[in-house]
């Protein structure tokens, strides 16, 4: 077809096809307004929150705030060092526990489990349900089985890390499974058809192909764990300790705990300190999420 013919047929089509009906357009418009409205409400709530916290907390932020120990007597000298160190160590312990457990479970469920068997389906359903269990329940579990009970670790850093690891384990399994499932079956077939064993196929094709998704998921799961207060309160994290944890079996605190303790204080000054600690927590969260986004954009495999 020449250009002129194409133009002519396009013209013909415009008269041949009926125009959009008035009612259709109206619905289209209404739906648009509803969507922008929904987004607007979310943004407004977030903006208000940020503004409120920043107004309260920003004046309190300083390097000495980060490098001083908490206090419940002298707000002007109080800081968050032990809580921040506690949070970082907690995240490290959680990651060390949750990464191997979560990834291997996901690999088993995706690559080995025979879904026609009832026990595999039982595991799957349970993981879905566990992901929806309120975090305070994990705190009670941690208290009963890790702090006391069979493990009897006491309310120490390691107990906190294990509890948080259990809390995010289902989430890590679910995101890792999704990342593994995103590797197309044709890649596995291609590898197996070349005489690779199933393990070689997983190790050299499936895991590299899903690594970005798995790591992103782990970081996002950790950023859920970092804000958790309830389970740590239940297992008995220390309030405003004036020391850093010095090992796995040391007492510990964490940022959310410190925030919680300060917000309970009748002194307005301490509530402002809580706002400042919230800002620090948010910065840590933002950093983690930016790393996750960067990893995804940089390494995600497009199939």
């Amino acid at each position: 077809m020449t250009g002129a013919q194409i133009a002519r047929s396009a013209l013909a089509q415009r008269t041949v096809l009926p125009r959009a009906s008035g009612a259709g357009r109206l619905w289209d418009l209404l739906f648009r307004i509803a969507m922008y409205g929904a987004i607007g409400i979310g943004m407004l709530a977030l903006g208000t929150l940020l503004f409120d916290v920043a107004r309260d907390g920003l004046p309190k932020l300083s390097w000495s705030f980060i490098t001083s120990f908490p206090s419940r007597i002298r707000p002007e000298a109080a800081g968050i060092e032990s809580a921040l160190v506690g949070t970082i160590l907690l995240m490290a312990i959680t990651a060390v526990i949750v990464v191997p457990l979560g990834v291997t479970t996901a690999l088993y469920l995706e690559e080995y489990a025979d879904r026609t068997k009832w026990w595999n389906r039982l595991v799957e359903v349970n993981i879905q349900n566990l992901a929806a269990v309120p975090s305070v329940v994990y705190g009670i579990l941690g208290l009963a089985f890790i702090v006391r009970g069979p493990l009897g670790l006491g309310n120490v850093l390691l107990a906190g890390g294990i509890t948080l690891a259990l809390l995010v384990l289902p989430v890590v399994i679910i995101v890792a499974r999704e990342a593994i499932r995103a590797v197309p079956p044709s890649i596995r077939e291609g590898s197996l058809a070349l005489g690779a064993t199933q393990w070689q196929t997983i190790w050299k094709q499936v895991l590299p192909g899903s690594l970005a998704g798995i790591v992103t998921g782990i970081i996002l799961a950790l950023s859920r764990a970092i804000g958790e207060t309830a389970p740590l309160l239940v297992i008995g994290a220390a309030a405003s300790p004036r020391f850093n944890p010095d090992g796995l079996f040391s007492d510990f605190s964490a940022l959310p705990i410190q925030i919680f303790v300060w917000t309970q204080d009748p002194n307005r000054e301490f509530v402002s300190l809580a706002a400042a600690a919230i800002l620090v927590l948010m910065v840590v969260l933002l950093l983690m999420n930016s790393v996750a986004i960067w990893l995804r954009n940089r390494y995600e495999q497009k199939w």
């Binding site: 025979d114 026609t116 890649i187 058809a193 070349l194 005489g195 690779a196 064993t197 192909g209 495999q301």
Partner: protein, 284 residues
């Protein structure tokens, strides 16, 4: 080649048949008798009896759902990977029953290469794609040499020799498929199974692959599933026509072989009227 597991393997393929020997009877590579496959309790193909000769191209044709792909996947035991799939009957490869308990499917897949419908390069460099098979097999020797030789055999070397480190996803569809062929050749198989290798390609890429098949035939035996009857007529020495019948009880499709003969005969003077109806385009 280092075999990681002890298993009975047929002798390495002898060099290509010299021209003067061509008049002799063709050596059989695969001999299949009464091969039936079922998924769960549903029979997918029944009683397939076919044998494939060395240095021949055999085409499997027939309407959709007639079990051509199911059948070709019996030949390198890819059906093992499908939960609930069951193969009965005998598949002999150089006289060895592939479904014997002591046959390791991993080892046999190194000898029986496969090319799939959609090009499926790995998300790695061109070099690493080809080197994958030899590496997982723990092959001795110069990997670079193996890669180059595989790419030359697949007529891809000249196009890619300057960009071996670039990602294979950047190649055109036709190049990707030839890369997959080269990748299969790198493990030194003697048979290539091709499951509709050109159905995702444009006519020019298709023609290149057909030319390539004609060359590969000198050294390899090729079994190709195709929906394209002109392709079967152009490239193959022998053709098997598959058809479907409906199960009497629940109406699911069961594939079987209607006719197997020289390609020339299948397309010019078929012995079965169903074959004739299919190859002349009256159905399917």
């Amino acid at each position: 080649m280092v075999t990681t597991k002890k298993m009975p393997m047929p002798p390495a393929p002898a060099p290509a048949t010299p021209p003067e020997a061509e008049a002799k009877a063709v050596e059989t590579i695969f001999d299949c008798r009464d091969v039936s496959v079922s998924y769960g309790d549903k029979l997918a193909i029944r009683d397939v009896g076919l044998s494939f000769g060395r240095n021949e191209i055999t085409a499997l044709i027939g309407p959709s759902g007639c079990g051509k792909s199911t059948f070709i996947r019996c030949l390198n035991r890819m059906n093992d990977l499908i939960p609930g799939a069951r193969v009965s009957g005998t598949v002999e490869y150089h006289g060895l029953d592939l479904y014997r308990a002591d046959v390791d499917p991993v080892q046999l897949r190194k000898r029986i290469g496969m090319v799939f419908q959609k090009p499926n390069p790995f998300p790695k460099s061109i070099f690493d794609n080809i080197a994958f098979g030899p590496r997982v097999a723990g092959m001795d020797g110069d990997i670079e040499e193996i890669v180059e030789s595989a790419l030359r055999r697949a007529a891809l070397w000249d196009e890619v020799k300057d960009r071996m480190k670039t990602n294979a996803f950047g190649m055109s569809g036709g190049q990707q498929q030839r890369l997959c062929i080269a990748r299969a050749l790198a493990t030194r198989p003697d048979v290539l199974l091709m499951d509709e290798p050109c159905s995702a390609l444009d006519p020019i890429s298709t023609a290149r692959i057909e030319d390539l098949m004609a060359e590969l035939k000198q050294e390899y035996s090729i079994i190709i599933v195709t929906h394209n009857m002109q392709q079967a007529a152009r490239v193959s020495d022998k053709t098997a026509f598959f058809s479907v019948e409906l199960d009497a009880a629940d109406g699911h499709r069961i594939g079987h072989v209607v006719e197997y003969d020289d390609t020339q005969k299948i397309f010019s003077n078929p012995g079965d009227e169903r074959t004739e109806a299919y190859v002349t385009g009256k159905f399917g």
